[in-house]
């Protein structure tokens, strides 16, 4: 045949290019080991040096090294990063670049870059689950400081440190729920009188797992708990995304949201929206669910000192104040603790990391009104 | 000037299963011969017409000359220049369409609707290779000259699609001749026009072709057009040239029934050659004897068909026994056609159409005598 076909030419050259570019199929990972060990060694030296110092000496040396580096790259899913960075850049002579995505893309990006031996990030600031994955992969270096020692106990995770907490609360529209009629417990939302007035969020598996653990500790069986959630779900409108949920709650699309972030409610209330998670009298619905968000140092950081300095910054008063201004709960205990006296439960992070699929499926089953939809 | 030798072009037909000797079936594409071993020559300054019904291969032949269709085998040359040549054992030559330097007028004119009249005509000059390309000013002069010839000068800046049908046709012609091609190809250029316009453009075309002296190949299915315009005609059928000759020859002496039928209306009378002396033949038919002249060489006893054009017959109300080939019949119907009157005459089993001067009109049912002058009869062999 004289005519070479387009098909073969395209197919062979494209696959050739791809293979040439990758040197192997996707998933084979590896690669770039030479560069990484070099970078790793340097970063480790810096971390060791600083972790070995304390007090003013530590701070001075860290600032000196960090400003010598002069740059910092942060990957984050934190929505308040702009304000944090602004303060940091004002305080130090360091230029910060921020990659902001959702927690899944932050994780995928770090995994991709690390497997290719590309060192694009110095420190990662994101949700607990993703940080735990990075730690499990062995990408994170320990951070030690007097500041870390003061962080709430729940926030001193292995190789990463909480900077703030997301707090799941039950919130309501104050125009639709009259004072005195606010729900007192989560169980109450299973009552038929709330039919069509509740909202659940599609991806709040972590909140769900924490509540299941809580009820198990209260002595309920798993079957009873799932039954309870299914009843709540059958009263509910399911929404995807907390922003949409908060917006629709303000607009009155439903009266109560079972798993809102406290800062979403507080911020909206500040702007004048008719929402609250504090009843007209008495305490908010307990327990509240705490989920840490934190920051970890990369072993392959190009700017390890700057990265450490930034962690310091987040935990210091200036950083914590940024969170407080945005109605978030900082990880350092403070005098005016908005959670003071409230019963709090934690998200069982390690359980979710090991058995993620099980919890995903169970919650999917719940939000579908008891209908078994998710297999596997 | 133009030489076509043994041109073959096939298209893939439908695939069908073919049983092989080992019992397995294999799919084989059947070949349809669009052009089957066609050869002809066109002389300098001639207007050569490929005539035939649709699907006869005339357009494929033309497109092969233009370089738009690649033949499977054969030889095409213009003068000394070989445009295409594919013979077993030899290297294939195939000059791309855009290097052949020919002019072509398409059936749909193929006028570029996004350009002005001027730009349409200037295009072939503008796309010439650097070095050969005339200067801008010369292009403009040449374009305007051609447009003037075509009486389109005043429309130069008009959008091409805003022209009338006849103007578009002239524009297409202007574009084809602006490079002064060695050969002009015309693919049914008049078929999209109404009857009246067609007629006037036909004469204009002939005049232009003569004045410019461009050798042309003309494709049409309209025998009147072919007869009126051509220096030579090749009648094609099923991919073959069935008769090649001057218009008058083809009209008067069709060498087979297809040509006779296709070119104009003919009456056919079948019979057997009873004797011939030189070119003078005697043919016996069911309804009488016919004398005629023919250059054909047919021994006595050959089955033949005698073809006679309606306008070549004469109609009399009284017998003229001194003249040959007179048959008696009666008028079945008549039709007034303006410039003539057609009578259908029943003679024995035959129905003969006779075209007469409009002054002659004979009522149906009348007895008449039909006379067929021997020089107007042609002998067509039965295939």
């Amino acid at each position: 045949m004289r005519n070479r076909t387009v098909a073969t030419v395209i197919a062979s050259s494209a696959i050739g290019l791809l293979l040439a570019a990758c040197g192997g199929p996707p998933g084979s990972g590896g690669g770039g080991a030479d560069g990484s060990s070099e970078a790793e060694k340097h970063a480790q030296q810096v971390y060791d040096k600083i972790n070995g110092l304390s007090g003013q000496e530590r701070t001075d040396e860290l600032v000196r090294l960090a400003e010598e580096e002069g740059e910092l790259s942060i990957y984050t899913s934190n929505s308040d990063m702009d304000d944090l960075v602004k303060g940091f850049e004002d305080a130090y002579d360091i230029k910060v670049s921020v990659y902001r995505g959702n927690s899944e893309s932050v994780l995928q990006r770090v995994l991709q870059e690390q497997s290719a031996g590309f060192h694009g990030v110095d420190t990662v600031e994101t949700n607990a689950l993703e940080l735990n994955v990075l730690n499990k992969e062995g990408f994170l270096a320990p951070y030690e400081s007097e500041l870390r020692d003061q962080v709430r106990e729940e926030g001193q995770a292995e190789n990463w440190t909480a900077s703030r907490f997301n707090v799941f609360v039950i919130g309501w529209n104050t125009k639709l729920v009259k004072p005195g009629e606010e729900p007192k417990t989560l169980e109450e939302l299973a009552d038929p009188k709330w039919k069509g007035k509740v909202s659940l969020e599609l991806s709040d598996v972590d909140w769900f797992a924490a509540m299941v653990k809580y009820y198990e500790d209260q002595g309920m069986s798993e079957a009873e708990i799932v039954e309870l959630f299914k009843k709540i779900s059958s009263n509910s409108k399911v929404v995807k995304g907390h922003t949409v949920q908060g917006e629709l709650l303000s607009a009155g699309q439903f009266s109560v949201a079972a798993s809102l972030y406290s800062h979403t409610v507080d911020k909206a209330a500040e702007a004048g929206a008719p929402v609250s998670w504090h009843p007209s009298s008495g305490k908010p619905v307990e327990p509240i669910v705490l989920r840490p968000n934190g920051i970890g140092l990369m072993k392959t950081a190009q700017n390890p000192a700057a990265a450490m300095l930034f962690v310091d910054w987040e935990l210091r008063e200036e950083g914590q104040q940024v969170f407080a201004d945005k109605f978030r709960i900082g990880s350092m205990p403070s005098d005016s603790d908005p959670l003071e006296g409230l019963e709090a439960v934690e998200v069982p992070e390690s359980e979710l990391l090991d058995n993620g699929k099980k919890w995903d499926d169970l919650y999917a089953e719940v939000v579908k009104g008891g209908e078994e939809v998710s297999g596997g | 000037m133009l030489h076509i030798d043994n041109l073959v072009k096939t298209f893939d037909g439908e695939r069908r299963k073919r049983a092989r000797s080992n019992g397995k079936e294999e799919a084989a594409a059947t070949k349809i011969f669009a052009v089957n071993d066609v050869s002809f020559e066109v002389g300098e300054g001639e207007l050569f017409t490929l005539l035939g019904p649709s699907g006869c291969g005339k357009t494929t032949t033309l497109r092969a000359i233009a370089g738009l269709e690649k033949p499977d085998a054969g030889h095409i040359a213009v003068g000394e220049r070989v445009l295409f040549s594919s013979k077993p054992g030899e290297k294939t030559v195939n000059v791309p369409a855009n290097s052949r330097g020919l002019g072509m007028v398409f059936q749909s004119y193929a006028i570029w609707p996004h350009m002005t009249v001027f730009n349409n005509v200037a295009f072939p000059l503008q796309v010439m290779k650097r070095g050969e390309r005339p200067a801008k000013r010369e292009i403009s002069e040449r374009v305007m000259r051609v447009l003037e010839t075509m009486e389109l000068g005043s429309y130069a800046n008009r959008q091409a699609t805003k022209l009338s049908g006849g103007q578009q046709q002239r524009l297409a012609l202007a574009r084809a001749i602006v490079i002064e091609p060695t050969l002009l190809l015309l693919d049914e250029p008049l078929s999209n026009l109404d009857a009246k316009l067609r007629e006037s453009l036909r004469y204009e075309l002939k005049r232009l072709q003569r004045e410019l002296g461009i050798t042309s190949v003309y494709v049409t299915h309209d025998q009147i057009e072919a007869l009126a315009l051509s220096t030579k005609i090749a009648v094609m059928s099923d991919g073959n040239v069935v008769q090649l000759g001057r218009p008058r020859e083809i009209y008067q002496n069709p060498n087979n029934k297809f040509v006779a039928e296709f070119i104009g209306t003919s009456n056919f009378i079948s019979g057997v050659v009873s004797a011939h002396r030189g070119e003078q033949y005697t043919v016996e038919t069911n309804d009488g004897r016919l004398l005629l002249d023919s250059a054909a060489d047919m021994p006595g006893g050959t089955e033949v068909v005698v073809s006679v054009r309606p306008e070549s017959m004469e109609l009399y109300e009284e017998s003229r026994p001194d003249l040959p080939n007179e048959w008696r019949g009666s008028v079945l119907t008549r039709a007034f056609l303006g410039d003539s009157v057609d009578h259908v005459i029943g003679v024995g089993k035959h129905e003969l159409r006779v075209r007469c001067n409009p002054s002659i009109s004979i009522a149906p049912g009348s007895d008449v005598y039909v006379r067929m002058p021997p020089e107007n009869l042609s002998l067509v062999p039965v295939n």
Binding site: V98, Q108, A251 | G67, F106
Partner: protein, 576 residues
């Protein structure tokens, strides 16, 4: 055998010296380059997707398929999906085609409105468009429901149903159909319709029997894109379907990609399902387009389009147009504008109007990233739209006009990216360019590659449809006139393709501003694009700032597209 020889043989030129034969002609270079580019762009993510689907640590596996399809409720999911996708496709087809027809071929009033109606729904980010509809037609808080309550009772219209989903998705997609069909109708000879009208057919019969069949390639392409798009869509089903427990096929993809580790095998298996469906669609579109000449409505014969007179229907159609315009453009836009002036969304009342402020716009103006993002989005949008349409114009020539073997494969390849999830595309590209010596990771170029890949399928459809409409003879006459392939392409085909290419260009430019799913993985600090900004505002719960951003985007793009149309009117067919 010479069964598939190229129509316009180029293999041996008679005169040139021997060495020239070894040099590829410019035509072959260009075709080869375009073919390679398309193959490369499509195969990289496809390879990544298939690898992830069929291979795990231990070798070949079909586990992904089992996890994706193998459970009891998959059939209802697929059922819902098909219902939703076909519904939305039909609605957008009917709406888009009628509007295009009215706009191009009749003397309908208010033609100026069509322009906005054709692009505004494309510009508004899907999530804002959908939420606008919740604010309009929710049985609980919908403004429309409140307006008609005295007559129809409370909650007469419910957007949280499958019909609501079809409605929102269909309207949101209808501009794609509109743009495709406008290009198709523009280049159609009205005499074809007029002759049918003269032979006694009613207008409706003419439309059905003449107009629709003549534009069949465009219609088939529209259906194809619409169905695949709706099957993939998750925004509308997530916001409208979940409330009443209506789940679709894509919720599976959402669930399998959400958990850790993301189940790329299952996601891939789902995408492969879509791929098979889509490729069958492309093959069908090719068969339909094959009957060649039937659709070549741009011929060398001139025509003067005369708009069809609607007569007594003119005012009726006028009212319909205004209604449509209000529904798809004004209503969502007003909701957006209204929201952008508030601190949080509340139903309109006198008190609310007193609290309106421009704070959100001020915040936007103060955002340093906003300007960078706008510039980057503009650069990427213009760049990807131009590149895609330029490449696809040539690719369409290969597919429609050449007789090169495997040309249909090129068509199929160009369609592949439509079914590849944005996240997978992002992963595939970062995988390749993190390891490639070409240093584009972390630059705008990797985003450009992602955008070109994602929008290739649309560009291809627009270009192929336009190519089908151009009569062969226009090209052949240029060749016989001595024009080289490239001269023919540039001076004859390109101008004739212009309306279709421009429509595709506008579409890509507009939707590229919304691309998030692959951008979010591939952008780098300093290379932010508008969609990232939208995402950030959304994540931060800044719904009102987001609305302000939406308004700014709509205004910017309308300005840009108007300029494009103005410029576009100068080239190509001047038929209006």
């Amino acid at each position: 055998m010479t069964t598939a020889s190229p129509a316009l043989g180029q293999e041996t030129v008679a005169e040139p010296a021997r060495w020239r034969r070894w040099l590829p002609t410019p035509k072959m270079l260009i075709l080869g380059m375009v073919g390679l580019a398309i193959g490369y762009l499509a195969l990289v993510p496809l390879y990544y997707l298939l690898w992830g689907t069929f291979f795990d640590g231990n070798g070949v596996t079909f586990g992904g398929f089992e996890r994706a399809y193998g459970h009891s409720q998959i059939l209802p999911l697929i059922g819902n999906s098909l219902w939703f996708a076909i519904g939305a496709a039909v609605l957008s087809l009917v709406v888009g085609t009628s509007l295009a027809y009215l706009n191009v071929r009749t003397d309908v009033p208010f033609k100026a409105l069509f322009f906005a109606a054709s692009i505004v729904p494309l510009i508004i980010p899907g999530i804002l468009y959908t939420i606008s509809w919740i604010f309009l037609a929710s049985p609980d808080i919908g403004l429309i429901n409140r307006l008609i309550e005295p007559v129809f009772g409370s909650g007469a219209i419910d957007i949280f149903t499958i019909w609501g989903m079809v409605w929102v998705e269909g309207l949101h997609l209808s501009p794609i159909v509109f743009l495709l069909m406008v290009a198709a109708f523009r280049s159609m000879d009205p005499s074809l319709e007029e002759s049918a009208l003269m032979s006694g057919a009613t207008r409706w019969q003419v439309f059905r029997k003449v107009t629709v069949p003549l534009t069949r390639p465009a219609i088939v392409a529209s259906i194809l894109i619409m169905v695949v798009r709706s099957l993939e869509s998750f925004e509308v089903p997530a916001l409208l379907g979940l409330q009443n427990g209506i789940y679709v096929f894509t919720s599976r993809i959402y669930f399998v990609l959400r958990s850790y580790p993301p189940d790329f095998g299952a996601a891939g298996a789902l995408a492969v399902g879509l791929l098979v469906l889509a490729l069958i669609g492309v093959a069908m579109a090719n068969i339909v387009g094959k009957s060649g000449k039937n659709f070549q409505t741009v011929t060398g014969k001139g025509f003067r389009p005369r708009p069809m007179e609607l007569g007594k229907w003119r005012p009726v159609m006028g009212v319909a147009i205004v209604l449509y315009f209000i529904l798809t453009v004004i209503a969502p836009l007003v909701v957006l504008l209204y929201t952008s002036l508030l601190k949080f969304y509340t139903a309109p009342s006198w008190d609310v109007f007193k609290t309106m402020t421009l704070d959100n716009y001020r915040e936007l103006a103060g955002m340093s990233k906003a300007m960078t993002a706008l510039q980057n989005s503009l650069a990427l949008g213009l760049g990807s739209a131009t590149l895609v349409m330029a490449f696809m114009a040539i690719a369409a020539w290969i597919v429609v006009r050449s007789r090169i073997r495997g040309r249909h494969l090129l068509d199929q390849l160009a369609f592949v990216p439509l079914v590849i999830p944005g996240l997978v595309l992002g992963l595939a590209l970062s995988f390749v360019y993190l390891r490639s010596p070409i240093p584009i990771y972390g630059t705008l170029f990797i985003l450009l590659i992602a955008y070109v890949t994602r929008y290739m399928p649309y560009g291809m459809r627009y270009a192929v449809i336009s190519m089908h409409q151009i009569s062969n003879e226009l090209e052949e006459s240029a060749q016989v006139s001595g024009a080289s392939w490239w001269q023919t392409f540039r001076r004859v085909l390109l101008p004739l393709l212009a309306p279709g290419l421009l429509a595709g260009w506008v579409y890509i430019l507009v939707v590229s501003f919304r691309e998030l799913s692959s951008s979010i993985l591939l952008y780098s600090p300093g290379n932010e694009v508008l969609s990232i900004l939208i995402f950030e505002q959304f994540e931060d719960g800044e719904f009102t700032v987001l609305s302000a951003l939406g308004v700014v985007m709509v205004l910017t793009l309308i300005l840009l597209v108007s300029i494009a149309y103005k410029l576009g009117a100068k080239v190509g067919l001047n038929r209006n």
